[in-house]
């Protein structure tokens, strides 16, 4: 069921603080069902904070505003409840947990979600994560390995709305193709009439990942606000040519 607005995600005037410091200062964002948006911006602009807040991590405290998912206000829901509504995140630096194996998490997903053990086995092979299935989760993995481990978990839960924090960072060019194809699989078509894929939000610094996954729209974040939004190619091109400084000027002019 899609909401009456057709947006899978709506964010209204979102203010968020971490350890008493406000990092997001009134974010407004709408992502229509079936669209994948890209989120760009310099380090420290709040991209990760926005994703972590959408997922509901408790370190990110919403002090004002609302997050609406599929027409429902989820601002007060737990991480578990959000995950079960179909929201998922691939973190850039997921925690390591001593003694907890990636296999145990995948086993949990098989036991509780609709995916079968065979399908997960196949996914594991395709994502090339066999070698660290029985190692402590996220421990001692390279950048590319972390992405693959995160993506396997997302693919296994088949989320309606996937968030990815810099899927290309720390990934060498060879692995990027693999990561790109896994990301692409997350947004496969999920209905025919209308033709529509699954939705998501991708944080990217370089835009490399956009060669593998077509984004419908790009947003630029600066200092805890969304500065401007537009066609992903145009936005990328502007940043490539003039950097974020141009965006800062542009925002200041607007203000």
């Amino acid at each position: 069921m899609s909401s009456s607005t057709g947006n899978i995600l709506e964010i209204h005037d979102l203010h968020v603080e971490v350890e008493g410091k406000e990092l997001l200062h009134g974010i407004n964002l709408a992502i229509p069902e079936g669209q994948v948006h890209a989120l760009m911006g310099p380090n420290g602009s709040g991209k990760t904070s926005l994703m972590m807040t959408i997922m509901g991590f408790s370190a990110y405290k919403v002090t004002r505003g609302q997050i609406i998912f599929d027409g429902r206000d989820i601002t007060g829901l737990s991480v578990t409840e959000r995950a079960r509504l179909g929201i998922a995140i691939a973190q850039q630096r997921p925690p390591t947990i001593v003694g907890v194996k990636l296999r145990a998490v995948l086993d949990y997903i098989v036991a509780h979600d609709s995916i079968s053990a065979e399908e997960v086995t196949q996914l594991v092979r395709q994502a090339r994560v066999e070698n660290f299935l029985d190692r402590d989760i996220n421990a001692g993995l390279s950048g590319g390995e972390i992405k693959r481990a995160e993506l396997v978990q997302l693919l296994a839960t088949c989320p309606r709305f996937s968030m990815m924090d810099e899927p290309e960072s720390g990934v060498d060019l060879d692995s990027l193709a693999l990561v790109g194809s896994l990301v692409n699989r997350l947004f496969v078509r999920d209905s025919c009439r209308p033709v529509r894929r699954r939705s998501g939000l991708i944080v990217t610094h370089t835009g490399h990942i956009l060669k593998y996954i077509e984004a419908d729209r790009a947003h630029i974040m600066l200092d805890g606000r969304i500065g401007c939004s537009g066609n992903p190619h145009l936005v990328l091109q502007t940043i490539a040519e003039r950097g974020y400084a141009e965006c800062v000027c542009c925002m200041n002019e607007g203000a």
């Binding site: 991480v79 003694g99 145990a104 949990y108 997903i109 839960t157």
Partner: protein
């Protein structure tokens, strides 16, 4: 040989379940899964059965009557009756209670033998003296499950445990405790290990008693003798749990590894591990604790220690106390787990970490601790 009725006929169904919770399986196909069974209810041995040649199990009083050498060589030889109040009380019993287990030379037994010791009456005192003798070239896995009946809240469990492991022998001693909330538990244990022999001591406390002190001492007397301790404890509000162990490395090239994992959901928890190096040896103590909603005055005190008498004794220790990190819990929640499921998985991982060759019995018990702890509230 003290043959009794079939075990399934003498143990009541609710007691069968209580014993199963601590790893003691009373069932019709017992001979296929166990090498022998000894069950003591209160002061009465309910059943004694052995299913294996070369293995003898019997009440200690009967063994003392039957074998003079038991008193001459083993009984009260590792632990002195005057050691403390516990040993004095056990020594003062007119007719000693407890088991004697004897594995004859050359007998290697893969299936575990089991001893169930349980208190079925409120406030009862069990005073036990258990002796285990493994002759040369033997192997035994002994599971001792100590517990109280469902309705029993209080009682005393005082025990003197002496074990002798000959040469080229392996004794695995897995003790699983699950006590009523006001039970006081005082095992006093000592083990002597001979040349090229191994002693593995596993201790798991599931339902914490009011007050437990369990610090078994092992003397590695033989050349290349080894000891491995694995202690897994769940502490809860109001309990005082002081566990761990001591290993005396007396034999050349002996080795020991002591691992202690404690989860504190309240109460006082002491994690101990003490090594005494009397010869060229290698040994390590590793204590790690996790504080999970310990309340006002709950704590973990981690006390690894080393005493070296020999320049070539290589000994080391490490200790850490931490909490379940919220970002770890939420990471797992973001895959759809409930908070308590996530906490259980993390605790399970913490307890499992670095334990190789965990037996299925112990593995199941650790799973229970993790599940219990996961249901506590997180702060």
């Amino acid at each position: 040989m003290a043959k009794s009725l079939n075990t399934v006929d003498v143990v009541a169904p609710d007691e069968v379940q209580t014993l199963a919770d601590v790893g003691v399986q009373i069932r019709p196909d017992e001979p296929q899964v166990r090498a022998g069974t000894y069950v003591l209810r209160d002061h009465l041995p309910l059943c004694v059965q052995t299913y294996r040649e070369g293995l003898e199990m019997m009440p200690i009083a009967e063994a003392l009557r039957r074998y003079d050498w038991l008193r001459e060589r083993y009984y009260w030889k590792l632990i002195s009756p005057d050691q403390d109040e516990v040993t004095r009380q056990v020594a003062a019993e007119a007719e000693p209670q407890g088991y004697f287990i004897w594995v004859r030379q050359g007998t290697r037994i893969t299936r575990p033998a089991q001893a169930g010791l349980f208190i079925s009456h409120e406030g009862l005192s069990q005073k036990l003296h258990n002796v285990v003798v493994l002759e040369d070239d033997t192997e035994l896995h002994l599971i001792t499950g100590c517990t109280t009946g469902r309705a029993v809240r209080s009682g005393y469990h005082l025990a003197v445990n002496e074990a002798y492991v000959g040469a080229n022998a392996t004794l695995t001693f897995t003790m699983v405790h699950s006590w009523g909330p006001e039970v006081i538990v005082r095992p006093r244990a000592a083990v002597a290990v001979g040349d090229h022999s191994h002693y593995i001591n596993n201790y798991v406390s599931l339902r914490p008693a009011l007050d437990i002190q369990s610090n078994p001492r092992t003397y590695l007397n033989g050349v290349r003798a080894t000891a491995k301790y694995m202690t897994v404890i769940l502490g809860s509000r109001g309990s005082i749990i002081d566990t761990g162990g001591e290993v005396w490395l007396n034999g050349e090239d002996s080795g020991a590894e002591l691992v202690h994992r404690g989860v504190c959901t309240g109460g006082k928890m002491y994690q101990r591990g003490f090594l005494v190096g009397n010869a060229r040896c290698r040994a390590h103590v590793d204590c790690a604790g996790m504080l999970l909603d310990p309340g006002e005055d709950g704590f973990i005190e981690s006390v690894p220690g080393l005493r070296s008498f020999h320049p070539e004794a290589q000994m080391s220790h490490e200790a850490s106390v931490g909490k379940v990190a919220p970002e770890q819990v939420e990471y797992l929640m973001s895959r759809g787990m409930e908070e308590h499921e996530a906490i259980s998985m993390i605790i399970r991982g913490f307890l499992d970490a670095d334990i190789e060759g965990l037996s299925a019995e112990l593995d199941a018990r650790i799973g229970e601790i993790a599940a219990l702890a996961g249901h506590g509230e997180r702060k």
